[in-house]
């Protein structure tokens, strides 16, 4: 039984290993320009000097929807310290996202990556995925998924990055 257990854990370890995506820790974050909700466009390199938290989400993803109000709280709290949160919606059809945001309004920019080009550039490996970019434009941390309580981790990371 213990041998079977060990074998199981071994093969799990082998199967679950995944390489770092392009958005790997320490590398410069890939630049992008995406249309935002208001109609204008936002470019990541324009935000250099601020700490940027990029959240990849979709309306069909339960944990993503669950996370949104908490992201709003994070944005409201840290924005005055030189921090921006970008919500990148990866759905090919943005209408579902726009409709959902009427129910759950957020004040941070929502960008539409309808062809998943930016998601691919960042090597998104799970939904949701949250990328933390420092003031120099480098990826410092990638957080995959969302479970209640993760927002505390986000707060810790942001506090560390805004001090730089």
């Amino acid at each position: 039984m213990r041998f079977a257990n060990m074998l199981w854990n071994l093969l799990l370890g082998a199967l679950l290993l995944s390489p770092g995506g392009v958005g790997a820790t320490g590398e410069p974050a890939p630049d992008f320009t995406l249309p935002a909700r208001g109609g204008d466009e936002i470019r990541l390199s324009d935000l250099r000097g601020q700490v940027v938290m990029i959240n990849f989400w979709a309306t069909w993803c339960g944990p993503c929807r669950q996370e949104m109000p908490l992201l709003e709280q994070v944005h409201a709290r840290y924005e005055p310290l030189g921090f921006t949160l970008l919500g990148i919606n990866v759905e090919p059809d943005s209408s579902a996202a726009r409709k959902w945001l009427e129910q759950v309004p957020v004040s941070f920019p929502i960008l539409f990556d309808t062809e998943s080009i930016v998601a691919e550039r960042f090597g998104v490996e799970g939904m949701p995925s949250t990328v933390f970019v420092d003031r120099a434009g480098r990826v410092r941390h990638v957080h995959r998924g969302y479970k209640p309580g993760d927002e505390a981790r986000y707060a810790d990371l942001i506090r560390g990055l805004v001090k730089e």
Binding site: A4, L11, L17, G62
Partner: protein, 75 residues
């Protein structure tokens, strides 16, 4: 027969892991169809279990029904 099942499953999984790392060809952000309830194999578990009971009570065959996959793949 039955005592071979667990070792067989483990050997299969190990063999698969020997393929080296596989890059997922359907990306996590391309899974919106599987999050749709119409693509769920078991949208109504109570109803499906009942229908299965109707068959098993009247037929000789049993087993190999149900699945544990698909879905949005979140988290």
């Amino acid at each position: 027969m039955k005592s071979l099942l667990l070792p067989a499953a483990l050997v299969t999984a190990l063999a698969l892991s020997g393929c080296g790392h596989l890059e997922p060809w359907v990306k996590p952000y391309e899974r919106q169809n599987f999050a749709d309830p119409i693509m769920s194999d078991n949208r109504d578990p109570v109803s499906a279990a009942y229908l299965n009971h109707v068959f098993e009570a009247r037929e000789g065959a049993r087993g190999a029904v149900g699945s544990h996959g698909g879905g949005c793949g979140c988290n």
